[in-house]
Symmetry: D3
Subunit: 334 residues, 6 copies
């Protein structure tokens, strides 16, 4: 029987299928009886689940990041779908179809890696091309880069999210650069490629997503500079001549300034054309991804507005499904 | 004899040619003698000029916005070129080649207007196309729209600057929209077209640039809503049916929120995908224009950095002329 | 039997009377059983109510904004009165005494409308008087203006609240203006009248209070400018001559700047005497209303302080009921 | 011959009359020759004056705060009147008509003191009346209170300015209090009386205006609390019974919170009705005084806008002299 | 049987011993049944406790601040230990060993008072020594000063916390002053002694900790100035000569500016060397105490990070118990 | 003849001695004649100098950073000493006594380097000691570290300033650490040593002080991490075993967070005890140095206050020379 995805679940459904477990907790209810609370997800989203009268046994029978078979039923709780579990059993990863749990399939990731290489190898600047090649040829790096999420919550928080965000940003760079001849396209493209590479070690994403200690104590803006230093040394060894110092400085500057403002953790404000462009386009891509996701996932299906988002200090307007086109569509037919 | 443009002037040159005058003032020097201070410009920039021992007569012989024949010589003053005038005479506009005084030629403006129409008429949404047509057919509006600057100082502060900024922004929208399918391309394109239309009356630009009273007291974000209301009414009369209300709301929202933050004068934060995209792309275009201009015009020719800009709270990095490519260029040949 | 008002309810009372229903929700409790949560109000306040073991049937038997007969009893919950319902039935509006549910009676509203007209018609400035008359004669406008609340929560959030806030502000203007001869009294009075008129469409208040889409996307500061434009055109038609342009600009400026600071959604800072006075007096009236209401309604009856209000970033001091006068009162008698 | 006041001076006038001197400086010009720079004022304003080729002798012949006879002529300098002195001689205070140098005449001050007493003695609250009486009977206090300015620059920066600001604020309180029955009128009135009393020692105003060391190190908000403590003790001795503690606390709270926000130097936010009302009304009075003064004194007589004021982060709109009434005036005649 | 301290409690333990009660509340659960919620503490910390099916009787049988005998058992609730009570009985203070409930023993406090006197009497500046003596000899003052906490929550929130914080700060002053010869050591030491004395009346700490009305309405920064004024007058009476005015001003300035920034409630910014040093060292001591406490008390024992602290806008890094030394320790042995 | 230092210069003195030149400019005066403007300094400070009727010849005869013999005389200009030059000649560095131009003598620097090594080698933690040794043994590093200033303007802006600031901070750490047992003293000491090492390349200080390109584009917080990485690798090679990873993370965290707040350029907030202590103590040392220098150098010798400092948003209080001790001094004698 084909899977019923999280995004398809309605109230009052029976459920008996495999999910990815995370954020498990054992809590007492008001009467002092313990229950299990756990997040169950597949590639389309996640849903909160509770097992009443749970105990240490079930709590200890699986870890966050494990696949579990969940049996029970759904109900509506404060406007959102919730699952009430009758049984929860750990399942070996082997018997599971990974594609059901990853937003991006292996094929998606392959395609993105291919496109990444294509764009980088298409640069005219030989020096940058050589530098990029050092990253592309580093299999350990590429394995992480193709797997890491772009964040723990917020935008692109799924396996491969970093790669998808990076490639999208590079596509945008290629399209916009011709509009602004003063921009050094290849420099901006390389900056877009590298701006978040620090995240491959800032985050841990083997079982659930979290910040690594280094990620929290040092941060991906600074960590990326160390990665770049290594690859520059490598490129110089390969080319047998030094990479132009100013080019490296401009790249480092893009890495440390790409959050755009001090308050967002950039130790430097963007001071070059490419740095300011990178900061805006990165922010635009992140905001569009985040807005889109909220508009799509908002649980208040009969409201024209999403719930208030305190991070963004605003609600978002959903409006009517086809609010803009409806009349004009009719008119066009006539 | 061909014109020597402001951007070409060096120290210790004799000058005898026509400029556009602005910001004239009569001031006493430390000894109490009056001198005339005036800005002289052509399409490449402006230069401060002084006539020592000036009097009311010369001060009253021309107005800001007039063409004047300036005779005298240049010198270096605090790192910048300054003109010392021996004579200043008003010149009729008739005998002047306007192209020498406008950054954008009549041909440039024609081309931009053409492209504007092309993009708007290429929209698939009939309703938005009809609305846009009401603006395009309004000759008085288009005359102002093709002439207005985008600002008094800052970015695109020259005749036609509003049109150039708008068309550039629309080009960017057309290139980026395909990357983000969730964006309503036509809605975003129309928002880009209209976001600054309030500036046609916010600024006065017949003789020198200034804010109109209405511009300062009400502002172009609010004024644009009134213009839109008029054109919507017109479009409804022409089409014989109401424009979809939600579409108008979405457009108005883009107009009042396009500065992106309360502190920049937006009474609303962007709450739709198109509004957030517009705010970012508008800001990006403005920042790139402003950064480019500062990098190009910075008078400290032998410094790798521009002077500190207190608005941006930073200096900009100019670096070496070909800092990034130099070595790679050589290498590529081998 | 006479009504027992919300403000009179104590713990452990039986209840069987009519209330206005709002904010109904169906929620599961910890055991997964559904219960109904609804706000019940009359003109003296509102009280939360719950019906255990509720179902879709009762949830769908009434709408927010309906009158309902509530049967059950009260209890104390976290320091506040709560109602436990045994039965809830929709009641036709016809059989209800509306005055029990509106803070302002029809007579109150009539009196306020009368006073509004009196103040506006008492202005010496003929042009402003004509303009005001266009609003007063517009029955549809006046019907909305006399019914709209001034907000969804916060201050004056009840039917007629906008009118009451406006008239109070105008009274204050009339009293204060003589202290400051530099103020144009009539201009300030008209600004006070119009400052919040945009709220008649910013809010929806037929069944419960909410922001309209236009209210959230465009906002009452901008919407008011459109209303003013219409009435100015009307006044010009009636008078057969244009209204002085500067006067209209000054009014528009008061409308768009009356929140006083960018961060409160004003796209312009007050730049005239009347605009700065309006911003301060409006804010003062709102703050006094809000403080008074909190001091009056705070549920911690035995504390000298209200609960912490995170919007205001402070607690308020209630002190002793007659803390200030007690001794002096005694002394005065002797 | 009657005095020609500073506000009446035009360019190219000869001058020979007495002024109050302040802010004297001896400066070298570009050629290294010294000149004297000094501010000359009377009750209508002040004007900058320069004596070329001055020396130590003239610089040492008078002190800031002295009356001086100034001989010379006026000229226009950067849009403002400036005086060029040929001679400057110290003049004994005895031979000078003090009223020409004080914005407020002795009669004005008498009238204000009278009104102050009237309002305070009209309070119904005996305890506050007794407390106020302790201030009114303290001759040393009243002498300072009637003489102190309300500031060094900004609003009400002239002898008697504190008294004038205080009495105006109390008038406003008396007019507004009836609109808000929840306000304790007498408490608010006493708070308005006392809110700035700390300024009698925060500022020094015997010769020119300046902050005292205590004023800068401790500040008038804190200093006022000490003054109040003394008078409360006095009132208790006189009345033979303690003043109600809560009343004193409420007064102290009004004193320390009346700047309204932390960033303006209030160590506490207003937490009572009277404290919030005092903060708003004080700010309103200060802003109206400051705006009025700028609109009146702006030297750009032919501009519809004042110069940009960086403290207020805005320009102010002057508009046309009778911009609002002109047409309506005509219309009214017909 | 020896006491089991709060910090030693694990899940699933039976409990039967005495605690200090605070923050008691009677609440209904979802089914409408009332339960008692109360905080139970000893000198090592506090733990939340609940008694199901409680009633008015038990709620009224003790007051906050009383000692109670608690019988029941512990469980884990959302990662923290919680107590479920079966019985709760008030206990007379007489039979309780106070040292189990105070973080600081009587001996600790005696030692701190001794050290305080030692440091103050060791000052070289006679005038400051005399002033300090007036405080030390005031038994009522010293009794409060040795008992007051330094806060209600946050750092040093326990009996004697103010004394401990003050003495620690003075120790730091004595150690650091020699590094900065420009600092007046005795002035800084006196400032450190007095900076928080206002807290003896700002807080109430007889039964549980709370802010007094005066504390909230006026604040300890301002209240300290009044205390200082009294003691200066006393010192002058004793010495028969005035204390140098500037010294008093410098002390007052340290008191009112020691929060360092307006936003933290300082009405003045530090403007002397001693004031800026005091502000930094006070803040450092508070932050170290607060960080240490969070690192020590964080309930997530198996996490390397504390929970997010919204006041500090960060998590804290706990790391490994001996993360830094482990290898080096091994190495050192070899 | 012994040198007359800048700090000793009064008005109307003849001058003929050697200074260090910086910030030279050629400027026209109001009459269009050029003059030379240059800063002349020795170890006690700097003074502005002007040579009237200067030309390209003298301007090109020396570079910033050269020693020059200056002949001329001093005068008072706007309250400050200024030099008017009659002659200016470049002088070879060889014939100059360097100690007259450096605030810190070679002996001072030697002493500081010695003390630095002493403190680092006194650490108990072997691993940190090894790491520190790698820095101490690196002669190129130490040469730069002993020569670099700590800033371009502000505090410790002189050769050796970085070393002096670092050693002072470490002294403070050694004195304070025993007060806070929870602090890891050796970790904090190493952090204090390394916190500003990035400045050795952030600044250029061979001829005058400036930021390097890398300093401005990347910044010393990030650059220090790179330096640390190199030395850790070196230490691991030497020790033949890895340095504990957590220790390195804690050090890196201290480097990137030591500005304490995002707005001061820290990409991370301090999240460990040592990081928060470092940030406070570093800031304290910088503020005390900056305050001391302003109090000492303020040119208004007869004022009790320094001029307003817009960076600090305050004036500083100088008071009386012996304001605090004067009376007590007398008293102590009796």
């Amino acid at each position: 029987m084909s899977r019923r995805f999280v995004s398809q679940l309605g109230p009052q459904e029976s459920v008996d299928q495999v999910f990815l477990a995370s954020d498990k907790q054992l809590r007492p209810n008001r009467s002092g009886n313990l229950y299990l609370q756990v997040e169950l997800s597949d590639r389309t989203g996640s849903v909160g689940a509770r097992m009443w009268n749970a105990n240490d046994h079930v709590y200890n029978s699986f870890e966050n990041g494990d696949y579990v078979r969940a049996e029970g039923s759904t109900q509506l709780f404060q406007g959102a779908i919730q699952m009430i579990l009758t049984r929860l059993t750990r399942v070996a990863a082997g018997g599971v179809s990974a594609d059901e749990f990853q937003l991006l399939t292996a094929a998606d990731l392959d395609r993105l890696v291919l496109r990444l290489g294509e764009m980088l190898r298409g640069m005219e600047n030989l020096s940058l091309r050589n530098l990029a090649e050092c990253f592309l040829l580093d299999e350990e790096f590429m394995a992480k880069f193709a797997r890491a999420p772009a964040g723990v919550k917020n935008h692109h928080a799924y396996l491969g999210g970093l790669l998808e965000h990076t490639v999208k940003l590079m596509e945008v760079v290629l399209r916009i650069a011709p509009c602004y001849p003063a921009l050094d396209r290849d420099l901006l493209l390389t900056g877009a490629f590298l701006h978040d590479v620090g995240k491959i070690d800032e985050l841990s994403y083997d079982r659930g997503f979290a910040y690594s200690d280094e990620g929290q104590l040092v941060g991906h803006l600074v960590m990326a500079v160390g990665l770049l230093d290594q690859k520059v040394a490598e490129a110089e060894r390969l080319a047998g001549e030094p990479v132009v110092e100013e080019m490296v400085l401009r790249l480092k500057h893009m890495l440390v300034s790409h959050h755009g403002e001090y308050e967002f953790g950039s130790p430097k404000l963007p001071m070059t054309l490419e740095a300011i462009a990178l900061a805006f386009l990165d922010n635009l891509d992140a905001k569009l991804a985040s807005f889109s996701q909220q508009l799509r996932d908002d649980p208040n299906v009969d409201s024209r507005w999403t719930a208030y988002n305190s991070n963004l200090r605003r609600k978002l307007f959903k409006g009517s499904p086809n609010g803009v086109e409806q009349t004009s569509g009719n008119t066009e037919d006539s």
